[in-house]
């Protein structure tokens, strides 16, 4: 039997997508999943750490600013610096930028309103452990739900992100064009997700866990989980089912 990937989902006070992420990892993807309490500085042998969406610490001060100092985050930072896989979704992305694990910041949406809807994302770089099961330029339909998702960084950092192919997802229209109209929050260069230079930490505002259970009819988010699973188990046994699905 193929080994299962162990997903650790961090639970902060105010996390509210932790159970969704757990459900997808455990029941949809049929892997191991465990919750990691914010006060415990222990990742319990997780292969992949997920910082889920929500409003950690009530979004006080700035989104993600308080969570960054939680005991569990000291371990997550250490784990990430050693090459461990970390996926930050929505509030998790905000925490990753506050912790300095990813460049940039997430400002208030340009519209000043909370935006909750399905968006189109263009896969900009399929050569990461998070995206191998997608094609370059593939368009994914995944929902967003946030008030502070307006990605911003200085021109030098943006240039570096572009040059290193660290921009993983961009908001686009159904034709795959990254237009201003398709940008739901004012993000610089339509950025929806970025990876660190080493390629082991990904932050994204859209919620792949909300588009993964076939019961909800949208399954594009599965590609991210499948890619991670493939990253850990492909050497042992190729994911034949996933391959045939692509062709």
């Amino acid at each position: 039997m193929r080994r299962k990937v162990k997903f650790g989902i961090v639970v902060f006070p105010g996390s509210n997508c932790d159970h969704d992420a757990y459900h997808v990892c455990k029941h949809v993807m049929q892997q191991d999943a465990q919750f990691l309490w914010h006060k415990e500085a222990d990742l319990k042998g997780s292969d992949v750490v997920i910082l889920p969406g929500g409003f950690s610490y009530g979004d006080y001060l700035r989104c993600g600013a308080i969570a960054r100092f939680a005991p569990v985050m000291q371990e997550v930072i250490r784990f990430a610096n050693e090459g461990g896989t970390v996926l930050g979704i929505c509030n998790g992305f905000q925490i990753l930028v506050e912790a300095g694990l990813l460049p940039g910041v997430l400002l208030r949406n340009a519209s000043l309103t909370f935006v909750c809807k399905f968006v189109h994302l263009r896969v900009e770089n399929p050569n990461t452990r998070f995206t191998t099961q997608a094609r370059h330029g593939e368009i994914l339909r995944i929902p967003i739900a946030h008030g502070e998702g307006n990605y911003f960084t200085d021109p030098d950092t943006l240039h570096r992100l572009e040059y290193n192919k660290q921009i993983i997802f961009r908001y686009c229209n159904s034709e795959g064009e990254a237009t201003a109209e398709a940008n739901p929050n004012g993000s610089l260069a339509n950025i929806a997700g970025v990876i660190n230079e080493a390629g082991n930490v990904l932050g994204m505002m859209p919620h792949p866990e909300r588009a993964a259970d076939p019961l909800l009819r949208h399954t594009d988010g599965q590609k991210i989980f499948k890619s991670l699973i493939a990253h850990y188990v492909l050497d042992e046994q190729p994911l034949v089912a996933v391959e045939s699905e692509r062709s």
């Binding site: 700035r62 910041v105 400002l107 000043l112």
Partner: protein, 88 residues
Amino acid sequence: MYLAKITVTLRKSILDPQGKAVEHAIGTMGLGTISGVRMGKYIELNVDAADEHSAHSIVEEVCKKLLANPIMEDYHFELERVKERQGV
């Protein structure tokens, strides 16, 4: 004991949509003379430090590491010598 009065505002280079919305509302009040509205945060805290110099460096560190995100925000503070702890 020192009382620090800290203000955190978005950096000038960053669009402040809240400030813009407020400015627009002021405009509709008929007060076209007002412009350049910037929104921010005001934070007060007590510092138990031997002198103003060390109080200054403690507040500086708190601002840099937690209260403001230097990528998007500027901070500014004033120190006031107080006899007792202020606030609750």
